[in-house]
């Protein structure tokens, strides 16, 4: 009988299809929006006094590019965290890193309302204090959660999960406390951190995030086989040749750094890291060597469209994109679960 396993053909096919879909999505989402874009006019006169060119290249394209990187990064982190914690309910929010980043960003917003650094302006866009403060917050919470979960040189998934969740709850309380003492106008900024937004024009930021996420993703992809083994259980993985202690530490740090960077730039866009890995598992299987790139690409596609919807749904107002990901992601996932439930794991 034919034994179905992961082979090169499947890898190339699945990733190829997803890559094509991603490219199409990127093109479509750049052309779609609450405002009508005249493409020919946009391309004809690329000087910066052309509103169509500015809409295309300054307002939309950076968002789409950022969306792909963050959607992919969140999905990839979701995959590895579910493997690391051995828990299919794990998601990037659970490590406490995103909470730390949000808190750092909110404090930055409150304490430094002058949010533009002198390094600013022009083509590459402004860099501000707030994302840096957020990233600092992410690093602090990552260190704290790490310290609390380290036992005899090993990161126990159980402790990691617990301390991450508790840390997040604590941070949420602090954020709500801040919410009650800040004024109305600062409260709008708070929503950005809690629900996310891809609003950006700074190509420098986008390029930085792309480089960062790509590097992180490729590094995680190389660990695909070890991730497979670690989902068999810590002991089984050790007996199959994996240095589980080192792997756990490395995955935790890598994903924390990725999540910290993403949340610093776009706020907490939830649900992608939880849902996309499961969706892709139902479609392409649990082998992480395929699941990781497939989830990365699917996450990019998903967030691209979610951002477009966020811009279009209540035009001219822009919804926080985190609302869209949860609102549309949830039912779609439930539908898929209903159809393919047989393949889903039994806990």
């Amino acid at each position: 009988m034919v034994v179905k396993v992961l082979d090169r053909r499947k890898m190339i096919f699945v990733n190829g299809v997803l890559l094509a879909l991603l490219t199409l999505s990127m093109v479509a989402c750049t052309l779609l929006g609450p405002v009508h874009l005249d493409l020919s006019r946009a391309l004809r006169d690329l000087s910066f006094a052309n509103p169509d060119a500015e809409i295309l290249f300054r307002a939309r394209l950076p968002r789409v590019l950022l969306g792909v990187a963050i959607g992919g990064g969140m999905a990839a982190c979701g995959v590895v965290l579910q493997a690391l914690l051995g828990n299919p309910l794990a998601c990037p929010q659970m490590l406490g890193v995103s909470g730390g980043a949000s808190l750092g960003g909110i404090l930055g917003l409150i304490l430094f309302p002058n949010w533009l650094l002198p390094i600013a302006g022009g083509l590459l866009g402004e860099i501000s204090w707030v994302p840096l403060a957020a990233f600092l917050g992410a690093l602090c919470s990552m260190t704290l959660v790490y310290r609390f979960s380290l036992f005899h040189g090993r990161l126990h998934p159980y402790h990691l999960l617990l301390s991450g969740v508790i840390f997040n709850s604590f941070i949420a309380a602090v954020i709500m406390f801040l919410n009650s003492i800040i004024d109305f106008y600062q409260a709008q900024g708070l929503l950005f951190w809690l629900m996310g937004s891809l609003s950006t024009r700074a190509y420098l930021t986008v390029a930085f995030i792309w480089a960062y996420i790509s590097f992180g993703f490729l590094w995680l992809w190389a660990k695909g086989l070890s991730l497979n083994l670690i989902t068999l259980g810590e002991e089984a993985a050790m007996q199959l040749g994996v240095e589980t202690g080192a792997l756990q530490r490395q995955i935790f740090i890598a994903s924390s750094l990725m999540i910290g960077a993403m949340v610093s730039v776009s706020g907490m866009i939830g649900f992608i890291g939880l849902m996309i890995p499961h969706v892709m598992r139902l479609i392409v299987g649990s082998d992480h060597r395929l699941l990781l790139p497939a989830s990365f690409l699917a996450g990019g596609i998903f967030l691209c469209w979610a951002d477009t919807l966020a811009r279009v749904l209540l035009a001219p107002a822009e919804l926080p994109v985190g609302i869209i990901t949860a609102f549309f992601g949830g039912p779609f996932f439930l539908f898929l679960l209903y159809r393919e439930g047989r393949k889903a794991l039994t806990l």
């Binding site: 050790m238 007996q239 040749g241």
Partner: protein, 260 residues
């Protein structure tokens, strides 16, 4: 002789509780040993120390080299472990699980090659689970899962096979099948086998050497006739039994004497 596994004065403690006391054991290449003892006597701990999951006090040598000097990948090519039960939280097919046994034999970046597939296939055939190669692991019964785990262990092409109560969830037919398979592997391929067992009669039939543990110490070490005596059973397990030699196999068999 070049002993496959050798321990000297091995001790291990979980927090403050001493689980193994000064265990000195030598397993030769190609030996087939059954480790016996009631629950909590240290059987599982001993196997975990052999496979370097736990580290105890005292020397453990594999092929005359200290176990600490081995890298995990190398160890996984020497040892294969079949645990008592396995919980896999994600949906994998049987074939995928068995193929994971080949992980140490190819680069982390490459997909499995033809040789890996052939070996996996052969392992599944040996353990009679090729038929459900494409089914999901979590859909199988406990016994079927156990056979898959044995197949995965065999796919590792180990020199030493460690099994923790391999017949725990198997029905009678498969219990016998597994033990017959182990004996065949031991005889035909020279696989060193160390198994923690709870069924004393099957242990007696299939394992030429038995090691009885009691409270973390070796109580008896020898052939089934030497180890399985009425006095020993009463002393270690706390129950009275009647031992008779089976005329066909010439091995001692237990008959339980319950108080009626």
């Amino acid at each position: 002789m070049n002993p496959a596994i050798q321990t000297r004065d091995l001790s291990f403690a979980y927090q403050d509780r001493l689980v193994l006391h000064d265990v000195s054991l030598s397993v030769d290449r190609g030996e087939m040993i059954g480790i016996l003892g009631p629950n909590g006597s240290g059987k599982t701990t001993l196997l975990k120390i052999f496979s370097a999951v736990l580290h105890g006090q005292g020397a453990v040598k594999i092929n005359d080299r200290d176990i600490e000097t081995y890298g995990r990948r190398d160890l996984s090519k020497l040892f294969a472990v079949v645990a008592q039960e396995s919980r896999v939280n994600f949906p994998y097919t049987v074939a995928e699980v068995v193929l994971m046994g080949r992980a140490s034999y190819h680069s982390a970046f490459a997909l499995e090659g033809k040789k890996d597939l052939e070996i996996a296939r052969a392992s599944m055939e040996l353990t009679d689970c090729l038929l459900f190669a494409n089914r999901y692991l979590h859909e199988l019964s406990g016994g079927e899962k156990q056979r898959v785990m044995i197949a995965r262990a065999l796919a590792q092409e180990p020199e030493i096979l460690l099994l923790d109560e391999p017949s725990a969830f198997l029905d009678l037919k498969h219990q016998v099948q597994v033990f017959e398979l182990l004996r065949r592997l031991n005889r035909d391929r020279g696989l060193t086998i160390v198994a923690a067992l709870h069924d004393l009669n099957l242990a007696s039939l299939f394992f030429p050497r038995l090691v009885m543990l009691r409270d973390g110490k070796i109580y008896r070490d020898g052939s089934p006739q030497e180890v399985l005596t009425e006095a020993t059973i009463e002393e270690v397990y706390g129950i009275r039994v009647r031992i008779e030699q089976d005329p066909v196999s010439e091995k001692p068999q237990l008959f339980i004497c319950p108080s009626l």
